[in-house]
């Protein structure tokens, strides 16, 4: 497999604050690579440096064999970038935005109609093409931004939290589009704060505090979770969580909507659960052992990291 993106000891320091503090990894051609981590982990800095928008303080970034410091223009020709914020011309129509970016990337006229049609097809924006970009819904805006980033069929697509603040249905649709772009041979690097999205990637890098603490396929990351994990429910979840926190041998408690994830040093017996149900005033119910999700692992790994510091 050829390498599409190679990050070697990348460091970016603002003043004295290291936003990214020595990161190395590579993304293979045709891979759908996820970058996850809390806000402030350094994801956006890394992405912007890859897009030749930021100059590394030290280290280097190789995009398709070209150095981001010297081959800026060549990189920009093969790269599609979708920034975190919607940043197209709100006062131009959908079609005018697409045409403008097609112009900038010198998409030849013979291919243009065909390409626009394909982009309209997957984004389903054709019926809105006369509408101003500023008047689109959040999900449609994201699809338009993606279409503009794809107008020149880039070999490498880099997206910074593309589904941030978008409804779940549009998100799902968006990821289906990403998958189909990947199948056509593009390399995709995407950052996200949604763990269920991370699970759709081929490999995931976990970033925290300017460092990468884990890189692996999602299944492998999930398999690393060392403790038995249970899912349970109750009426007063907050109270239930506090109850578990005070027990002995508890590793981690985490609320997930209307469920609580609890992990233990030792696998508890059914008798333990009966006992806890009584102790919690009969509130505890529906306990079942559960496969750890990305989020469980993510929180576990970050907690480990905090302990190590």
């Amino acid at each position: 497999m050829k390498v599409a993106l190679e990050i070697i000891e990348f460091k970016k320091v603002y003043g004295t604050y290291p936003a990214v503090n020595g990161v190395s990894f590579s993304v293979e051609e045709g891979e759908l690579f996820g970058l996850i981590g809390p806000d402030g982990a350094g994801k956006t800095t890394l992405i912007r440096a890859l897009c030749t928008l930021l100059k590394p303080t030290s280290g280097s970034l190789i995009v398709s064999g070209m150095d981001s410091n010297t081959d800026i223009l060549a990189i920009r020709n093969i790269l599609g970038y979708m920034p975190q914020r919607f940043s197209l011309y709100q006062d131009l129509s959908v079609e005018q935005n697409l045409q403008f970016f097609a112009d900038l990337f010198k998409v030849p006229a013979i291919h243009r109609t065909e390409r626009l049609n394909r982009l309209y097809q997957f984004s389903r924006l054709e019926s809105f093409k006369k509408r101003l970009a500023g008047e689109l819904s959040g999900g449609m805006k994201q699809k338009l931004a993606l279409s503009c980033a794809l107008i020149h069929t880039p070999a490498i697509l880099i997206l910074d939290e593309p589904t941030y603040g978008v409804d779940p249905l549009s998100r799902q649709e968006f990821w289906e589009i990403l998958k189909s772009i990947q199948q056509e041979g593009a390399t995709i690097l995407v950052s996200t704060a949604y763990m269920e999205e991370a699970e759709l990637c081929d490999r995931v890098a976990l970033m925290y505090n300017g460092k990468i603490i884990e890189i692996n396929p999602p299944e492998k990351i999930k398999a690393e979770y060392p403790y038995p994990l249970y899912r349970c429910e109750g009426r007063d979840m907050q109270k239930l969580r506090n109850f578990f926190k005070n027990l002995e041998g508890i590793r981690q408690t985490q609320l997930f909507g209307n469920a609580l994830h609890v992990s233990f040093s030792e696998k508890p017996s059914p008798g333990d659960w009966q006992k806890w149900q009584k102790q919690s005033g009969g509130d505890l119910k529906n306990w079942i052992d559960h496969e750890p999700s990305m989020e469980d692992v993510f929180l576990y790994l970050i907690n480990q990291e905090i302990k190590d510091e």
């Binding site: 928008l53 100059k55 920009r76 970038y81 919607f86 940043s87 011309y89 006062d91 131009l92 005018q96």
Partner: protein, 373 residues
């Protein structure tokens, strides 16, 4: 080249879609021209005057009559009390006082030097100076017509005048609009291009589209030219509209060459658009850009000689005006309009203006980076 045209197309689409912006570009300048042209005037008329006639002779009455016949002076009060004049001047009831002493007519007939006393309220120094000038002119004229070869006048600051016949060149009637309207043209060619270019670039920065443009293969010069050329075109359109109004509505005399005016305007527009780009490189929001542009504008207008003559400024401040490109363009435009001067007479100002234009545009282009950090 094609990309520049595509940038321009996008730019024009955005400008024409932005209705408030269209208003700012085309309506506001006209309103400014109409209002400023009437408001900023150095013509002095209807000066409030008090008269103290101790002489009470036919000659004194004739002199007073000469003052009352012109619309420059409105005689508000006749009195015999000099203290009253002091009080009236303090309470803004009178601006200038004419005192004819007893024995004035006798002195005149005897051939001795007759004296007349004039006091003017110096709080508004400009008006006072102009009013004194008018008064002198009236008295000189009266003295000449009455074959009295030597009419001396005494003011609080004593001043002797020789018989002087004035004739204004270029602006025969000293019509201040002939002077101010070309100045307003310069002001507009300063504000609009600077604001347009600063706002447009900072807006792209604010919305994030500049970042999006940066990751495309669009080159820096293509991006900048794609911005500058539409603003140049708009500024020329603006110039054409404002000049049409100036010439047709205000009867401003345009004695010079239109071609010269257009080509020197180009040099100046490069300067003001360059300033706008420069401002956009170190501001992050449209608000910031607006304030910085405002600062530049006020400095440039005040130090340009637009309504405060540079010759009236203290020496150190005069030297300071040489830092102001608008100063040179102000002189150039007024010379072209009023005197019809050719390039050979304007070469020094044009050279200075070009010098600043090159510095500013170079600085702007250099500071404008296609990278974020």
């Amino acid at each position: 080249m094609k990309r520049i045209l595509q940038m321009m197309q996008k730019e024009f689409r955005q400008i024409f879609r932005d209705r408030p912006m269209m208003g700012i570009i085309f309506i506001v300048p006209l309103v400014q021209l109409l209002i400023l042209a009437f408001a900023i005037t150095t013509d002095v008329k209807h000066i409030k005057m008090s008269v103290v006639d101790f002489d009470k002779s036919a000659i004194s009455r004739e002199i007073i009559n000469a003052f009352s016949q012109t619309e420059r002076f409105d005689i508000k009060d006749f009195t015999q009390d000099l203290h009253r004049i002091d009080n009236d001047m303090r309470s803004w009831k009178t601006q200038i006082a004419l005192v004819i002493p007893a024995g004035f007519s006798k002195d005149m007939q005897r051939g001795a030097k007759p004296q007349i006393h004039i006091s003017a309220d110096g709080v508004d120094g400009n008006t006072a100076g102009i009013a004194l000038g008018y008064a002198q002119a009236i008295l000189v004229k009266y003295g000449l017509e009455n074959n009295s070869p030597d009419v001396s006048l005494t003011r609080r600051i004593s001043l002797h005048i020789v018989n002087m016949v004035e004739r204004m060149w270029y602006n025969l009637e000293l019509d201040s609009q002939q002077f101010m309207v070309p100045g307003i043209v310069v002001v507009l060619l300063t504000i609009i291009p600077m604001m347009l270019s600063a706002m447009s670039l900072v807006k792209e920065k604010e919305i994030g589209t500049l970042e999006q443009l940066m990751v495309t293969p669009l080159r820096k010069h293509q991006l900048l030219l794609g911005k500058i050329i539409p603003f140049l075109i708009l500024s020329y359109l603006e110039l054409a509209i404002v000049m049409t109004v100036a010439i047709l509505l205000f009867n401003i005399a345009m004695n010079g060459s239109y071609l010269l005016l257009a080509s020197l305007s180009f040099l100046y527009l490069i300067t003001t658009i360059g300033l706008g780009i420069f401002i956009s490189t170190f501001t992050h929001t449209q608000q910031q850009a607006m304030f910085v542009a405002w600062f530049f504008m006020v400095f440039m207008i005040i130090m340009s000689g637009f309504f405060i003559p540079i010759d009236n400024m203290p020496g150190s401040l005069q030297a300071f005006t040489y830092l102001n490109p608008m100063r040179f363009f102000m002189a150039i435009i007024r010379d072209i309009f009023q005197k019809g001067s050719g390039l050979s007479y304007l070469s020094r100002d044009s050279a200075m203006m070009t010098f600043y234009g090159i510095i500013i545009i170079t600085l702007a282009v250099f500071k404008f980076r296609k990278r974020v950090s």
